[in-house]
Symmetry: C2
Subunit: 341 residues, 2 copies
DNA sequence: CGTTAGCACTCAATTACGACGAGTGCTAAA
DNA sequence: TTTAGCACTCGTCGTAATTGAGTGCTAACG
C-alpha cells in the first residue's frame, strides 16, 4: 500500500539516518541522486509516511527519523543485501584459516570477528545439550572422595563437573557403573537419558553393584543437571561508540542487562531458525528498547545447536549485518560438518 | 615525616573524597568531628601537603583532591581495615553455601559476588596450568578422523581439545600411546611434561607403536599448547556508575581494554602473592591510569593458581575492598583444600 | 609562636538571552 | 500534480552576567 515513490523516500530517509544518526530533512533527500523531486513534494510524502506511523518527528522543526514500524517495513521489504566488503572478506578468510582446537572456541572467535567487522556487540549462545547425544561418559578419581565426571557429546562438546563421592562407595563399583552407563547410553540423546536410566539400567545395575541407587542418583544428577547456556559477549564496549548511547545511564542499563545471563537467554527465545530481526520494543527486555537484535541459529547435523546475534542501535546497518550473519553462519555450519567429516 | 595532624587531615580528605567524588575544602574538614581546627589552620596544612605532592588542586578556587602519591600514602600507612558489613557477610555466607560443581565455577562466581558487594569491576585470571600436574589424559574418538583429547589436572581442572587424526593411524595405536602416557606422565607437572616426553617416553613408545613420532607430536602439541589464561569479568558495567567515567570516551577506553584478554593479563603480571594495590599510573596500561587495581592471588596446595582483582576508580573504597578480598581469598583457598580433602 | 578571624580574589558552574538556521506546513501559482 | 514562496517553530550555539565555594594572605589573638 505504499507507492513506489514513498518507498524510495522511506528508503532514502532510513539510509541517511543510519549513516548520520540525525533527523533527515526533505532538502537533503531531494539533493540525493536517487529521488529527484523537490523538497516540497517530499515533505508532503513525508507527512503521509508519518501519518502511517513509519516516520516520526523529534520536534516540530526537525527532520524525520524512522519509527520502529518504519524500520520493520525497511527490513521486511526494502533492504537489499549488499556484497561483503573487502576488509570483511579478508577477516572472514583469516578466521577460517585459523586452527580450531575446540568447539566453543570457534563460536567464541566467530563472535569476536563479527563484532569487529560490524562495530556492534555480538552475543553468542553456546551449544545446548538438549538435542545432542551422549558419546562418552567417564569418571576420573581425583582424591579419595572426589572425582571428575566428564561427558562428551557426539558434537565434540565436553562438559565436566567435580563430584564428591559418598563415604563407603568403592571405586570399583563406580567403575562398573560407569562402564554400564557407557554401554547403554552411548548415542542416546540427552532428553531421553533420564528415562533410559530408569527403565533399562537401574535393574541391571542392581545385580552387579552394591548401593547402586546412591551411585546412580549421583551420576544422574551429574548428567542431567540443568545448565543455562553459556553466553559469550564480544565488543560490548562498541555500544558506547553509538551516539544514541552517549548518555551513560542508557549505556549502563544495556551493558548491565548483557551481564545478566538469564536475561540475555530470554532475548533469544522464540527462535524459528534462520535469520531473525527484532527491532526496538519488539525485544523482550526494555533495556534494549532502543536496540535491534539480529540473530541466526547455527546447527550441525540437522540439530539446532545455538544462536549467534548482533546487537546494535535500532539505527543499525541492517543490510550489512544480515548479509554477514547469513554468510558466516552458513560457513560455520559447513566448517563444522567438514570438520567432523 | 608527616605530623600526626597532617596525617589526620590527609586521612579526612581522602575519606571525604572517596565518598563524594568532589574536591574537599578546608571548611568541610573542619566541620567533621575528628579534626577540630579552624579552616585556616587546615588550609595551611593542606598547602603543605600539596607541596609534598600528596594533594592536588583541580583549579585555584577548588578544594583539594588526593594525588596518586596521596593515595599511595593512604593505602600504605593510613588505611584501617574495617569490619565486613552485614549485607556483605550474608552474601559471602550464601556464596559458600552454594553447591559447587566445578572449579572455574567457584572462581567465576566469586568474581560475581565481589563485584556485587563492591560495585566495582572484578577480574579473575583462571587457573594457570603451569604449576599443576597431569592427573589423567584421555582420547575419545568422535568420528573416523577426529577425537576429543581430555586432560585432567591434579587440581580437578579439565582441558579439552578436538584433534583430527592423520590418515592411517589406527585407534589401537592411539590407545596404546595414551595408556603409556598415562603411566608415565601421571603426577608430572606440566612444565616438565615436554622433557619427560622426549627423554623417557619416546624410546619406549617406538617399540610398541607404528609411526609413533606422528602420534607423539600430535599429543605433545595437544598437551603443551600454550594457552593464555582465561579471564572472567564481572560487573564491568559498574564502571559506568562512577562519576569519573561519566564521559563516555573514558569509559569506552577502559571497557575496550578489558575486552582484550592479553592486555588484561599484562595488568596482572608482577604478582608477589598476597594482596597488592596498584594505583592510577602505577598500572601497566594507560587506559586505566585513573583506576586502581587491587589483586589477590589464590592458591591450592601451595601452588599459586590464579589471581582475583577488583578494578575501580582511584577514588575507590580501599579499606572495604582490601578487607573483602583478603577475607574471601583466604576462605576460597580453605574451601578448595577441604573440598579435595 | 601557633592559631584563627577577616577579607579580597579566583574561577568553574549556572542562568539568561538573543541570534541563527534547519526544517516544517500551508497557500497559491505553474 | 508539482513546486516556489513564505511565515513560523524550536533546538542549538555563543556571549554575558551572576553566583558561590574555596583559596591565600594579613593581622590580631591567647
Amino acid at each position: 500500500m505504499l507507492s513506489e515513490r514513498q518507498r524510495m523516500i522511506l528508503n532514502a530517509i532510513i539510509d541517511d539516518y543510519i549513516r548520520s544518526a540525525e533527523p533527515v530533512g526533505s532538502r537533503s533527500i531531494s539533493k540525493r541522486g536517487d529521488v529527484s523531486f523537490s523538497p516540497a513534494t517530499i515533505r508532503n510524502e513525508m507527512a503521509d509516511l508519518e501519518e502511517m506511523g513509519l516516520l516520526e518527528q523529534p520536534h516540530t522543526s526537525a527532520g524525520r527519523i524512522p519509527s520502529i514500524k518504519g524500520y520493520r517495513y525497511y527490513v521486511d521489504h526494502l533492504v537489499t543485501l549488499g556484497e561483503i566488503g573487502d576488509r570483511d572478506a579478508r577477516m572472514i578468510r583469516s578466521f577460517f584459516a585459523e586452527k580450531m582446537t575446540h568447539w566453543e572456541g570457534i563460536i567464541e572467535h566467530a563472535a569476536t570477528v563479527l563484532s569487529q567487522m560490524t562495530n556492534y556487540t555480538s552475543i553468542v549462545l553456546g551449544p545446548e545439550m538438549f538435542n545432542t547425544a551422549l558419546k562418552h561418559f567417564q569418571v576420573i578419581p581425583l582424591t579419595d572422595n572426589s572425582a571428575v565426571a566428564i561427558i562428551v557429546t557426539n558434537t565434540g562438546h565436553v562438559e565436566h563437573r567435580t563430584i564428591s563421592i559418598p563415604e563407603g562407595i568403592t571405586m570399583d563399583d563406580m567403575t562398573k557403573t560407569v562402564n554400564l552407563l557407557n554401554d547403554k547410553l552411548a548415542g542416546v540423546p540427552f532428553y531421553k537419558v533420564k528415562s533410559v536410566l530408569h527403565s533399562e539400567i537401574a535393574k541391571e545395575l542392581s545385580r552387579y553393584v552394591e548401593r547402586f541407587e546412591e551411585i546412580l542418583a549421583l551420576l544422574e544428577q551429574t548428567i542431567n543437571e540443568k545448565q543455562e547456556p553459556k553466553v559469550f559477549l564480544s565488543g560490548a564496549s562498541n555500544m558506547l561508540t553509538q551516539p544514541e548511547f552517549k548518555d551513560v545511564d542508557k549505556a549502563k542499563s544495556i551493558l548491565g542487562m548483557l551481564e545478566a545471563t538469564p536475561l540475555v537467554v530470554q532475548l533469544f527465545q522464540s527462535n524459528p531458525g534462520g535469520i531473525q530481526v527484532k527491532i526496538g520494543t519488539e525485544n523482550a527486555h526494555e533495556a534494549i528498547n532502543h536496540c535491534s537484535l539480529i540473530t541466526a541459529t547455527y546447527s550441525f547435523d540437522g540439530q539446532s545447536l545455538g544462536t549467534i546475534g548482533i546487537l546494535g542501535p535500532t539505527r543499525m546497518e541492517y543490510a550489512k549485518v544480515i548479509g554477514l550473519l547469513d554468510y558466516l553462519s552458513k560457513d560455520i555450519v559447513q566448517l563444522m560438518s567438514r570438520w567432523h567429516k
